[in-house]
């Protein structure tokens, strides 16, 4: 611990700017690894064997419905909760038993959790005070970080004299000023109104890209997760269902849960024919297997997003009859009744719209759909 503090202080005095640069000290730190981490609360296993590894500088999101164990996982990473099993490592150091004040993690809470009796400047300076940074240097860094989050001029105010968005910026400044190994964000935007939520989240992403601190965001908002993350871990009932880049998660869900939780999906039952292909209602369709390719003859489910479905007059694909077309502004929604059930397509607004009752083929690129063993 001693050596770590000294190292950080050394780095701080070397770098001219606290905020660092993409190639600065923060960028090289912050490789988090969870290996089989478990937690039992109230007799129930709320986090089961979670494995996870981040790249330094990565923006990783834990996405899942309410009560799936996201906050519990984050609290174990921060050290506020002990793990009942497994190992938590930061940059190769086992921190599983390390108390929170000896881990270098900046956490931002849904409730902001600013210290109500301190000014914004004192709130932000708190972590520096705990690190015994001299007063003059402290003031300089606080000023700098407040400017970075757009709160210059608010230093002397108390938290309750700030709006929700400003409080959240202050909380972010307080977490960033200590140059943490990891930045942990627990639903930081959910108490803000929709517009501010989007704006602040864009700012946070830009800031994170600039300073390169490995960041873990917890959210139940799939749109937010898709918009900000380098990778997303989709969680349900204490288990990570899939961990991948937003595009993969969206286009190639690995499980029913992931497919349904993130947007609309066509789930079609079929049979694997081997070699990354399968048969649905007598038609050969392509889909990418997530993980090991299913054995020939295995029952599989194919997940296709409406946006990737093309409607053609003929050609290879799933044949069916157009049941419904509806103009939705940016998209045209088209429902086709096929042998495998209804397939919904979201066509671009300028697409050729098929007529009702027309016989058509639904097709998609194999790389835009996934299949998983049922």
């Amino acid at each position: 611990m001693r050596t770590r503090t000294t190292r950080q202080e050394a780095e701080r005095s070397v770098s001219t700017s606290t905020t660092g640069t993409p190639a600065g000290p923060a960028a090289r730190r912050g490789r988090l690894r969870l290996d089989g981490v478990r937690k039992v609360l109230g007799g129930k296993e709320v986090v089961s064997a979670v494995d996870l590894e981040t790249e330094p500088g990565e923006f990783l999101t834990l996405l899942g419905p309410s009560g799936c164990g996201k906050t519990t996982t984050l609290n174990m990473v921060a050290g506020h909760l002990g793990a009942d099993g497994g190992v938590i490592e930061v940059d190769g150091t086992d921190v599983t038993g390390t108390p929170p004040h000896r881990r270098s993690m900046g956490m931002v809470f849904q409730s902001y959790a600013l210290f109500p009796h301190m000014t914004i400047a004192d709130n932000v300076a708190f972590g520096l005070r705990m690190r015994k940074v001299p007063a003059a240097e402290r003031r300089r860094q606080v000023e700098e970080v407040l400017e970075m989050v757009g709160l210059d001029g608010m230093a002397g105010r108390h938290p309750r004299q700030l709006s929700g968005g400003q409080q959240q910026r202050a909380a972010l400044a307080r977490a960033l000023v200590i140059q943490p190994d990891l930045l942990l964000l627990d639903e930081p935007f959910s108490n803000l109104d929709a517009q501010l939520r989007v704006r602040l989240r864009e700012e946070v992403v830009a800031l994170q890209r600039r300073i390169g601190t490995t960041t873990i965001l917890v959210t139940h908002d799939q749109e937010e997760a898709l918009a900000v993350s380098d990778r997303i871990a989709v969680m349900a009932d204490g288990v990570i269902h899939q961990l991948d880049r937003p595009r993969e998660i969206y286009l190639r869900p690995a499980t029913d849960f992931v497919a349904q939780f993130i947007g609309e999906v066509n789930a079609l039952d079929g049979t694997a024919t081997g070699g990354g292909a399968c048969e649905v209602a007598g038609a050969r369709v392509g889909a990418t297997a997530v993980g090991d390719p299913p054995a020939q003859g295995a029952g599989v489910r194919v997940y296709v997003r409406p946006e990737v479905v093309r409607i053609q007059a003929d050609g290879d694909g799933l044949r069916g009859t157009v049941r419904e077309t509806r103009f939705l502004g940016s998209r045209i929604r088209c429902v086709v009744a096929t042998g495998a059930g209804e397939v919904t397509a979201a066509l671009p607004f300028d697409a050729q719209v098929p007529a009702m009752g027309e016989e058509v083929t639904c097709a998609w690129r194999p790389s835009d759909a996934s299949m998983a063993v049922r």
Partner: protein
């Protein structure tokens, strides 16, 4: 409409103020009378009765006893209130529910019943009457209040703030010092203030617990008045009011009375 309510509100405040201040005014004024009986308005003006008070050492020793016990009650109530409040708020332990129930129903017990009960109890435990037993008796009155105030303070504390402090590098003691304690500061000061006043003021419980040579100031005054109802009593009353004023000013100086009642601390 708002003007009417404002006028009514001001009128009400003035009435309440008068009602509270009138007895004080009567006491102070009648302590200056030249007559040897208490009368209002006073006839003539003299400080003779104050000289009387200071000529009676038993009043001074009673004052010292009362003030000492009250200070001790204030300090102990704050400390025990903090510890008890934290224990109930933070930990699940057997008997926790029962403890909370006892603490919240303690107010409901009439002080006279408490006095009789304690008299009996102390006698059976073989505890001789002493400032210590008196203090114990007062703590029974004041600790539950302090605990409840602390609990209310803790309820207003966001546990995430403590986590945030820990995450920023504060070891448990500093988390307590910088985050938890400030949240219950008002509660502690309020609890101590309440304990001091309750103890200093108490007659009922003290009547049962004290002996003839260990009398608190209220008991001394009460006993004195049964035989001599002269202006010495009102002179003491005036001195007690002065003492209270000094105490309030001192506390105001150090912490600000406004903060006791949860008022906004910001002037800027």
């Amino acid at each position: 409409m708002t003007r009417l309510t404002r006028v009514l509100g001001t009128g009400f405040a003035v009435l309440v103020g008068l009602f509270l201040i009138a007895p004080v005014v009567v006491t102070v004024a009648s302590s200056l009378t030249t007559t040897s009986y208490v009368t209002f308005p006073p006839k003539g003006i003299t400080l003779r009765w104050y000289a009387e008070v200071f000529g009676k050492p038993e009043f001074l020793s009673s004052f010292v006893l009362s003030a000492g016990v009250a200070l001790a009650a204030a300090a102990i109530s704050a400390v025990v209130g903090l510890a008890g409040g934290l224990a109930i708020h933070r930990y699940r332990f057997p008997g926790r529910g029962a403890l909370e129930a006892v603490l919240s129903s303690a107010f409901a017990v009439p002080t006279i019943v408490l006095g009789i009960g304690l008299l009996q109890w102390f006698a059976q435990m073989g505890l001789a009457s002493s400032p210590f037993t008196l203090l114990l008796a007062h703590l029974v009155l004041t600790v539950p209040y302090a605990v409840r105030l602390v609990l209310a303070g803790l309820a207003g504390l966001d546990r995430s703030a403590e986590k945030a402090a820990a995450g920023l590098g504060a070891p448990p003691f500093l988390v307590f010092w910088h985050v938890t304690l400030p949240a219950v500061r008002g509660a502690l000061i309020g609890g101590a203030f309440f304990a001091f006043i309750t103890s200093f003021d108490d007659l009922t419980v003290a009547l049962f617990v004290v002996t003839t040579d260990l009398q608190t100031l209220p008991v001394r005054i009460f006993n004195y008045m049964q035989y001599d109802y002269d202006p010495t009593v009102t002179a003491i009353g005036t001195l007690m009011v002065l003492f209270a004023v000094v105490a309030v000013v001192v506390i105001e100086r150090f912490v600000g009375v406004a903060r006791l009642f949860g008022a906004d601390t910001d002037h800027k």
